[in-house]
């Protein structure tokens, strides 16, 4: 199973700043291992962010996103204490959902 994400969420004024680190190989499908064999592509394809019960972001990603991806978002009108739920799904169907609470 995939490692947990690290999610940081903090209010700055009336805007929540959300940063997330994801543990994922993000294989492009172009890399060769040391035996010369091509390593099959394996990458996150979709990401959703829910804040306070509302879907605020949904995104799709490709192989150009760096290994162990980092994303940052800003959500206006969120409040300290709101729950942030982030989900990803990759091209092999692996997925991961983690949550955090917005800090003041």
């Amino acid at each position: 199973m995939a490692d947990p994400m690290k999610i940081r969420a903090q209010m700055k004024g009336d805007t929540a700043e959300i940063r997330v680190l994801m543990s994922h190989a993000m294989e492009t499908g172009q890399r060769k291992d040391n035996t010369g064999a091509t390593v099959p592509s394996h990458f996150i394809q979709s990401i959703t962010v829910d804040v306070g019960g509302k879907r605020v972001i949904q995104g799709q990603t490709g192989t150009s996103v760096s290994r162990n991806p980092v994303f940052g978002f800003k959500v206006k009108g969120a409040k300290a204490g709101d729950k942030v739920i982030i989900n990803w799904v990759d091209n092999k169907g692996d997925k991961r959902t983690d949550e955090a609470t917005i800090a003041a």
Binding site: D3, K6, L21, D33
Partner: protein, 280 residues
Amino acid sequence: MKQRLSTLLVAAMMSAAFAVHAQQPARKAAPPAKKDGITAEFEKFREVLEEDNPAELFEARGEDIWKNRKGPAGASMAQCDLGLGAGVVKGAYVQMPRYFADVAQVMDAERRIVHCMVKYLGYNEADIRKQPFSNVNKTPDHVSVITYVAAQSRNMKIAAPQKHPKEKEAYNIGKEIFAYRAGPYDFSCASCHGADGMRIRTQDLPNLRKPAEAIRAYQGWPGYRMTGGFMLTQQWRMNDCFRQQRFPEPSYLSDSITALLAYMTVTANGQVYKGPGIKR
């Protein structure tokens, strides 16, 4: 033959003569480069990179092993003494290398952590030595634990002890290894890290003889290596420097590497640790 003979002669007759000179700072470097565009540009984005460092993912993995893993006899890392008492992690990283009476040896953090993982969690040292460093396929458990332990000293002052004679010895020997030129390219550690303002390609080279720069090298590792996307440790950094120095390979967790790390860490004493790092 010619080389060997002259080496012997010189070695025999000159070692004494130059013992004092050798303490002096080394050769003048190329004119110390001012901060040029490339270095300045990299620094602008360092903060962004450091703010969200994927090293945290490995830190979390290491924390889990430290706190939850049990050895075959039911032991855990709670029994591991990193120098501040059994199970104490906070601040331990920046106070190694240090002398450990139980093994009558000076150990750097990596050496001590591996020692504990073998002793308490039942890891096989031979297996660890088979793949001591991370690669794109695998970050070994001990590397994650090192990352966790290092992170538990973040924002603390480096304070590698120099009380025990063996700790002083490690420092002094490390200092000599640092300056020792040999091999087909005539390189020593100091060839790249002995003067200010030097760069290989675009990579900044801290002058490890200065506290304010030694800290930069020290806190780079353990670090998240952007190339490949995995964690590498100080033991790896030393190993790969010797590779590029065109030396033979230093054994993993050997006295020579501990000595070098003692020299670098003691030089950085008093500086505040901001690692784990993120490196190109």
